[in-house]
Symmetry: C2
């Protein structure tokens, strides 16, 4: 039996955990708390509007692993073995799942932290349709103040997420391994961000190198916290052996995370599948060096390549530039190639679920469904 | 018996822990790793040259608490009680102290992280006589790149420090409380940085408010990780009850941390006690709103106040401005007042050591000595 995933609770629980962490005793006595209150308010604003895909994946992984454990424990008792009472009463199981819900929220709080720092680094003024944190925290165009407060807000949320995991995992299996996996995820994302800044310097004249470097960035910066860590934390919390939890999460999560990011880039240029809430072609407008662009450059004939380099070499891109670039992505076959990559990676991830020995056969179906929600455009 | 504090080992151990955390498998296979290598090199450069006062205080607190524990255990056995073997063999004690050494190193690694982010926020181009991290990481005056890499380096070192504590405290007492105390310290420092940015907006016309706000900033931003957390981590690791460890650390550490910061500001203007390696009057050159300045403004007559406001109101301060300001700090009695504050706080901290019931009488002397090293100019 799987407990239903508490989608609706996530937003309010994320808020409650963040508010609790940012509260200070003797508030009234603290002089000049105005900026701290603005930081608190921005924490709520930055947390809002997420789709909570990572939290949902972590809860699904936990449920699948917990179900597998229960299925193993309820196998017929072999003669001579000792009949054991279930390790969890219903109330204990509910308490554990509440703790896992907090771990899932920690993933979202950490994501908010990473996005706030990302937006500073990328100089992005908008996030989810609203001013990004460093813009919202500016006072009178004081950019240094906005950046400073946003760096600190990011730090506070990263620390909050680790604190929630430290506290919640104490009521779950594999406490120490869980905290280490979470901190290892924070490490991977920061390394991925450094690699991403490196990749910016790869010239468009070397699309092969660009594809290779971009996929490496996706591994560190996206797959880590989008798929691998949510799966590993869920498996660990439910009691999988740490090595098993790690290997299973890596085999399922790495291709899943890559497919997720490639799909995100593809959705950006495909109005038919346009569900992200961002305007079509936003990556092209920003001149982002995506895998899609690199694929198009590799497949283009001389004329097509010349046009793409002209569009991306300009200081800005108009609506008609965007339409032309999308047309070139289509006509070079880059879009079909990306869709092919996504399908292959998604199937690889699905096979890893099917061959994960620690997962009971009944527990696999809900996990397949959770992964399919991460990559709705995969054609498996 | 106290194990000798391993001053010499700290620098190399800090380096080893940081290098280990920043290493990646399959390095050779990672494309465009140039920036990551620069970040690794900068981690070493940013860690170097610290005085390791915080690590030393943490080790002293651990030794004092461990000695107190041994003294209690070796008290004459009361009739009827069970004779116990010591809870630690010598080799186990050495292993625990090695773990505590790593926790002490984590405090220094975290400090480096905080200083890197501070320097971005304060737009400081120098740190310990060398280019600050965001300056050193610039390529061809690309400020955005330098800032981005330095934000990530700060994040990596903050996560590294938490990871080291999570791993090391597993071999010490009070594992979970230790990790929570460490993360709570990271939280306090970030809140302190926000309060510090708030305090910048306090006008010099309100020196009373400035003193009050500055001391509050010192509590959060300095005392937290300079004194309270090192003491608490040492006490927890040696096995004090968590509530006792927290209260003792707070009572000793808060006045000690405040005295430390006030002394740092005083040393800045006093060439006779000039041991910090910074040029005399650096805070004045930067126009920093220190407690010393606020005290001087409160004590000044109209003419003195006019001069101070003129010096600090200017866009820059010359050598003769600095000399004049120091003269005014002296003649208004602000320097004597600061020295008085420092002495009072240091005595308060010393009394807290003497009245900490959990500390054995023999363990107090080395802890007094460790605290005196933090505030060499205190006249107790």
């Amino acid at each position: 039996m799987s407990t239903a995933v508490d989608w609706g609770n996530l937003e309010s629980r994320i808020d409650a955990l963040t508010t609790q962490f940012l509260a200070t005793p003797h508030d009234a006595a603290m002089p000049y708390e105005g900026l701290l209150n603005r930081v608190r308010t921005q924490a709520g604003a930055s947390n809002a509007g997420g789709k909570h895909l990572r939290a949902q994946l972590a809860l699904s992984a936990y449920d699948a692993a917990a179900d597998s454990g229960r299925a193993r424990r309820s196998r017929p008792v072999t003669p001579g073995s000792i009949s054991m009472t279930p390790s969890h009463s219903t109330s204990a199981a509910r308490q554990s799942r509440d703790a896992m819900l907090d771990v899932a929220c920690a993933l979202e709080i950490y994501q908010t932290s990473a996005l706030i720092h990302d937006d500073i680094i990328d100089d992005s003024d908008l996030r989810r349709g609203a001013p990004s944190a460093h813009k919202a925290l500016e006072i009178g165009n004081n950019e240094r103040l906005g950046h400073g407060l946003a760096i600190m807000l990011g730090n506070l949320l990263a620390t909050a997420s680790a604190y929630v995991v430290e506290t919640s995992f104490a009521r779950l299996h594999n406490h120490e391994d869980g905290v280490r996996a979470f901190l290892g995820m924070q490490r991977a994302v920061a390394i991925g961000q450094v690699l991403d800044l490196s990749a910016e310097s790869i010239p468009l004249s070397d699309p092969e190198q660009l594809v290779c470097a971009s996929l490496e960035v996706f591994r560190w910066k996206t797959a880590s916290y989008t798929a691998i860590a949510p799966l590993e934390l869920g498996f660990l919390a439910a009691g999988f052996e740490p090595a098993v939890a790690h290997e299973s999460a890596l085999h399922i999560g790495e291709p899943l995370g890559l497919a997720f990011q490639l799909a995100d880039d593809l959705i950006d240029v495909d109005s038919s599948s346009h569900i992200s809430g961002k305007p079509v072609g936003g990556d092209i407008r920003e001149g982002k060096h995506t895998v899609l662009l690199a694929d198009a450059l590799q497949r283009a004939d001389d004329l097509q390549r010349k046009r793409l380099l002209a569009i991306y070499g300009a200081s800005a891109r108009s609506k008609s530039d965007i339409a032309e670039a999308i047309g070139l992505f289509q006509s070079t076959g880059a879009i079909a190639q990306s869709q092919g990559r996504i399908n292959t990676l998604f199937r690889q991830s699905s096979r890893a679920i099917d061959t994960a020995a620690a997962l009971g056969s009944k527990a696999r179906e809900p996990l397949h469904a959770a992964c399919a929600r991460m990559v709705p455009i995969a054609d498996a």
